[in-house]
Symmetry: C2
Subunit: 211 residues, 2 copies
Amino acid sequence: MKSKPSKSGADERVAERSPRRPFDREAGVAVAKDLFHERGYDAVGVAELTRALGINPPSLYAAYGNKAGLYERCLEIYVAEANLPADKILTPDRPLSEAINDLLRQAVRLYTKSKAKRGCMVAEGMRADDPQARQLANAYGDAAADFIEGYIKRSQPHQARKLADYVVTTLQGLSAGARAGRSRARLLAVAELAGQAFETFLHTSDESKNA
Amino acid sequence: MKSKPSKSGADERVAERSPRRPFDREAGVAVAKDLFHERGYDAVGVAELTRALGINPPSLYAAYGNKAGLYERCLEIYVAEANLPADKILTPDRPLSEAINDLLRQAVRLYTKSKAKRGCMVAEGMRADDPQARQLANAYGDAAADFIEGYIKRSQPHQARKLADYVVTTLQGLSAGARAGRSRARLLAVAELAGQAFETFLHTSDESKNA
DNA sequence: GCAATGCTATAGTGATCACTACAAATCAAA
DNA sequence: TTTGATTTGTAGTGATCACTATAGCATTGC
């Protein structure tokens, strides 16, 4: 009867937190995230992960379920760490083209911040051979694309999708360029071009759409 | 004495052409090319290749050296088949922006021509996990980028690299979009935007650069 | 016919893949 | 101290990786 939910409330809290500390799951996710970001989902094996985390395979599976589960946690904190805080950049109070321009430039800075971890972890994950990993990354990628499209739609409802596609395509190209080793300066120049192009789209669209 | 170079000259020609037909190397390359294009270098194993070619592993290695060697042949004919005849599109007799616009649109058509073989085989190969395959693809990618930059430099010597980077980045984004399953119509819209953007770059650059 | 040539298929190489069965070890609660 | 729960390390699962040693076999020139 009272076997499960008996005793005091404090016990339940303690019971939830594992009687014997496993190995710091959170830190493990951070380490794995760097590995996945640096070399991609497929190229990082479980053996290398366990070596990097200082644990053995059974601990990894007990903690995260499987390799894809760990990757999911990595994606989660990668996005949550606000590496590219789209919600902070795409704010309703600033001009659309200025916000997009800022987004592109900040993306380049992020993609080229680390020499090892080049490009966008989500965008690169969408190209993984493993279908499960690809699906996980796609979820975040689609969410980001929807967010951008929704933001554009506020001021440009007629061609929001086309413009959002342009932005997303540019971001994917910038991520690929970063991964290929193109320098930050050159990518920033491209981002600036794309940003100033975006501004012209709004002008020309106003003319044609109002006609 | 007369054992080796005796007899008639016709024999030498026949002797060169393998006494027993191997298995049609050329056709094998074409089949392998489709597989590599469809699923990427890493995802296609030697076992699957030999199955698709109707041969056994030793024949593959005797014919192409190794998996990377076969991939190299595939890349070669992929590019040579003029899937995207840049030299036919980027001709000196047409306006720069028109040529670039055409290049982008034709690229989209190519990237979305087959439902299975999406994107650019070279651009996608540049992301392979295998360093050898990556290097092979990079060679073709760099050559294409240089060709584009050289073409732009003819009419825009000051900012050819920046503009070429923009075009290459857009192409990579389009390839990624095609691989992600984005429709031809949407990608064509993006290509058109990028093309019309490219034209504005020339105008604005003329003003600022001449000052 | 007879050896030489050259491609073929059978079978298997060690390495690595993601993943797990099992039992020792450690903790909490009784 | 005993019991029960849980994580740990050891060791190994079958599968697949790229690749190859060996030998059979068909065709060639003699």
